[in-house]
């Protein structure tokens, strides 16, 4: 009984320490962003809102995998705790030298293997193939080039002619031409639109060609279940389809330097008409600013 009291004491100490942390935990942090972001973001082991056509497949895979993990852990934990209590050292209790022939453990391992094969071959590989490889036909999709740089996302729209203009690193001007668009030399570049926020249509496939000007970034749309590294020297397409309008976030998921954390952009999912209006507005030559 002596031992048990000390354990209770320890638990009380630990609880007190946790409790001492509680006020801090409750302290709210003021939001930094001035634009309200739509969607629900997990508070207790839940994924963020899903606004994409394919996202639920990934979500299901994550949920089923976690269910499988929970079954394994709980089942295995019950046996573990049973052993801890049943076979503790006490007077009159002796360990058995002979080893049990544990058939259940073999079944368990085979079961684990089978479930893993099902999860991998039945779910993961097909999902991967469709969300990463099977791009929608180019004429049906809305195309945007995403050019990452330290520490901003540049979005490059082809403009009315539907063709992306030529870019050249030598023409890059950080303020006025971050993409290095050759507006003078290439006719396709004349009408190209550049923005620091992502506007995409709802209910239409979107293909984003991801690239980077300097280091490795990662294009992450939490509500779209999309993540793709932006590698310098490569242009990698990803696609997704939004099913709901709203304002969401584009995040950088790969350490890209000191201000990696502030490499955030906004994504506006809009009806096609609104998007066209926005693009038209953006495509106008800049109006002179008169003081």
């Amino acid at each position: 009984m002596q031992v048990k009291k000390s354990w209770i004491l320890l638990a009380v100490i630990a609880a007190a320490l946790v409790a001492s942390a509680a006020p801090a935990w409750a302290q709210a942090v003021a939001p930094k962003t001035t634009v309200p972001i739509d969607g629900e973001y997990g508070r207790f082991f839940s994924l963020p809102t899903d606004v994409s056509k394919n996202g639920h497949r990934i979500d299901n895979l994550i949920h089923w995998t976690h269910a499988f993990m929970a079954v394994l852990f709980v089942g295995w934990g019950i046996f573990f705790v049973y052993c801890l209590m049943r076979f503790r050292q006490r007077p009159g209790h002796q360990a058995h030298y002979e080893l049990v022939h544990a058939k259940p453990s073999k079944y368990l391992e085979v079961a684990v293997l089978i479930v893993e094969i099902v999860l991998l071959a039945g779910f993961s590989v097909p999902i991967w193939a469709s969300v990463k490889n099977d791009l929608p036909p180019a004429d049906k999709a809305f195309r945007v080039r995403v050019v990452a740089e330290q520490f901003a996302w540049n979005f490059h729209y082809p403009g009315p002619d539907g063709q992306f203009g030529r870019t050249d690193p030598k023409l890059v001007d950080t303020a006025t031409n971050p993409l290095g668009l050759d507006r003078e030399g290439d006719p396709h570049a004349k009408d190209d639109i550049f923005a620091l926020e992502l506007h995409i249509p709802v209910n239409q496939p979107v293909i984003c060609d991801i690239s980077s000007k300097d280091v490795i970034h990662s294009f992450f749309l939490p509500v779209m279940r999309v993540k793709q590294d932006a590698l310098p020297g490569m242009r990698i397409p990803v696609w997704f389809e939004a099913v709901q309008t709203g304002t969401y976030e584009v995040a950088c998921a790969q350490l890209c330097g000191n201000n990696h954390y502030s490499m955030r952009a906004l994504m506006y999912i809009q009806p096609a008409t609104d998007l066209e209006a926005w693009l038209r507005e953006k495509g106008k030559p800049p109006e002179e600013f008169v003081e």
Partner: protein, 584 residues
């Protein structure tokens, strides 16, 4: 011993060795083991301190750090408030220090050096001078890493993975980091050669490979991983040094524009080449971090269940298989780099396959509890806690190994939670079990069990408070390595979990005070114990405590397997390996 009359320079040990030769530049594996252990524990504490500082910024972004904020200098902080560059430097150095300067030197350099030769009945390591060199090269590497904090621009700040091109254009600290890594790799290479040769050549008579304690097996496989996986990183380090210092473009593609400036690199390189070379090392490295821990846990569990390990041979085969497989799973760290379906499916398959031997080892350890007689002493508590903690760490690896699920979870806090569960409450708990278990062998005294239990309970609670919230953050989509996650809405919404996690970390830091007190006080005040206080069977307990130079008074001969506990018909419940007959 036929060669006993061959005396060489190495072995002319005069009794009047000076203090320097005896305790500082010693060639005795036990002294080196203690040096490794103490240095590594200090580095672990330092690495943990770094993260406690970072956790302040994460919990209370932009607020000055209390108490120690002023000590951080001008590069890392401004008026006691951590800066992003400081956060990144601390983050990169936390990873590097914990992995390369803390855990590996502790469980391989420290425990491996001290315990392994004793467990195989060897008088020393096969190459004692090499062993000493290995420690001192490690020490120098550690010093280079520490000094890099004072380099212009601070320590390396491109993450412990040092992804190019970021690391190539990074501040000078990265060059220091690379030099430090070259030294650490060299140290590991010297050590691993020594370990393998020692295990192959110096086993006591009768000690077949399948009579080796599981710990020795884990060290054996680990040494092979170190031997074969580290050189590619050394090559990668050399290439990155060339990129940084000679302006080559191994990892630099054409047309890079950094900060609006066209970079002078010719181009033609591939940023992915670094990742391939790095993860070719770093995935086996993960097993370097966990296999010796499994070995230690197996030792402690076998000893305290008073029963042979269940499935010893199966475990040995599993550990060999793990070692082999760990070389062909590396690209599962790179699913998001733009991999096609086939390659990702291949690496996902190997990843699923490698989970099986881990499940086998874990299951074997749990089944070993069945029909045993569990002795709840401090090392056993830590070893038992290792099992569920490692299980959580291993299981959460599953969604990360499935490429489609990894799309959402890659590089989020989910990953952080996953590998910390493997390494912190996994490996570090195993190391604590090892320290409490072998302390009597090293000092002749036990550590205080009451303080040990306090240490265990508090550590167990708070380590979960630290890492469990990370899964919630990760599911919500919060990326890792963010200086201030409240910049994002999804980060803001789970900020409460971050704060809880931070408080857990600081409490976990406090929970180590009983351990530190215990560690030092027991040197003087610990209860004096016999040579074999745990009534264990393996050879290290046949040597005196502490073992003298040369380890064994008489060279032991081995008659049976490592875990002959509760043998029927015996008077005592343990039957040491070196005894021909049971004691009457």
């Amino acid at each position: 011993m036929t060669e006993a009359h061959h005396h060489h320079d190495d072995h002319h040990h005069h009794p009047e060795l000076g203090w320097w030769r005896k305790y500082v530049f010693s060639t005795d594996h036990k002294v080196i083991g203690v040096q490794y252990t103490v240095t590594a524990l200090l580095f672990l504490l330092f690495g943990f301190t770094l993260v406690m500082i970072m956790r302040w910024q994460l919990a209370y972004p932009g607020k000055p750090i209390p108490l120690i904020g002023g000590l951080l200098g001008k590069t890392l902080a401004n008026d006691g408030t951590l800066l992003p560059e400081g956060y990144n430097a601390l983050g990169a150095m936390h990873g590097t220090i914990m992995v390369f300067l803390g855990i590996v030197p502790l469980i391989v350099g420290g425990f491996g050096n001290y315990v392994m030769p004793l467990q195989i009945g060897a008088p020393d390591m096969a190459f004692p001078k090499l062993n000493m060199a290995s420690y001192w090269v490690y020490f120098c590497g550690g010093m280079v890493m520490l000094l890099s904090f004072f380099a212009p621009g601070g320590a390396a700040n491109s993450g412990w993975t040092s992804y190019a091109p970021l690391s190539v254009v990074a501040t000078q600290g990265q060059t220091w980091w690379l030099f430090g890594m070259v030294l650490l790799i060299t140290s590991s290479l010297l050590g691993s050669i020594n370990f393998i040769v020692t295990i192959i050549q110096l086993r006591a008579k009768g000690l077949d490979f399948f009579k080796l304690p599981f710990f020795v097996w884990s060290q054996f496989v680990t040494a092979f991983l170190l031997l074969l996986a580290f050189p590619p990183l050394e090559a990668a380090g050399a290439l990155q040094l060339m990129d940084r210092l000679a302006g080559t473009s191994f990892f630099m593609p054409e047309g890079l524009v950094v900060s609006g400036i066209v970079q002078p690199y010719t181009g033609g390189g591939s940023p992915l080449l670094w990742q391939h070379l790095f993860w070719f090392l770093a995935h086996p490295e993960v097993y370097v971090l966990i296999l010796p821990a499994m070995g230690m846990v197996a030792e402690v569990i076998a000893n305290n269940t008073r029963k042979p390990l269940w499935g010893y041979r199966l475990m040995v085969y599993s550990v060999i298989f793990l070692g082999f497989m760990s070389f062909i799973v590396w690209a599962h760290h790179m699913f998001i780099t733009g991999m096609g379906t086939r390659i990702s499916a291949f690496f996902a398959t190997t990843t699923m396959i490698i989970s099986i031997p881990s499940v086998i080892i874990l299951t074997a350890l749990v089944i070993s509890l069945y029909r045993s007689s569990i002795r709840y002493n401090v090392p056993m508590l830590f070893a038992l806690a290792f099992l569920p903690m490692f299980a959580i760490g291993g299981l959460t690896g599953l969604p990360l190994g499935l490429p489609a699920a990894d799309i959402q979870l890659h590089d989020t806090y989910y990953v952080i939670g996953h590998f910390h569960y493997v390494v912190a409450p996994g490996t570090i708990f195993a190391a604590f079990a090892g320290i409490y278990h072998w302390y009597p062998k090293v000092t002749g005294r036990t550590m205080n069990p009451a303080l040990g239990k306090i240490h265990f309970v508090l550590s167990f609670i708070f380590i979960n408070v630290v890492f469990m919230p990370m899964f919630f953050q990760g599911m919500a989509g919060v990326s890792r390595r963010l200086f201030d996650q409240t910049f994002y809405q999804h980060g803001l919404d789970v900020q409460g979990w971050t704060q809880l996690s931070s408080w857990g970390a600081w409490m976990l830091g406090l929970s180590q005070v009983p351990f530190i007190m215990n560690f030092f006080m027991s040197l003087r005040a610990g209860r004096k114990v016999s040579d074999n206080p745990w009534e264990a069977t393996t050879l290290e307990w046949a040597a005196p405590s502490p073992p003298p130079h040369g380890n064994f008074a008489t060279v032991p001969v081995v008659y049976r397997g490592p875990y002959e506990y509760s043998v029927p018909g015996q008077k005592k419940d343990f039957f040491p390996q070196h005894l021909a007959k049971a004691e009457a």
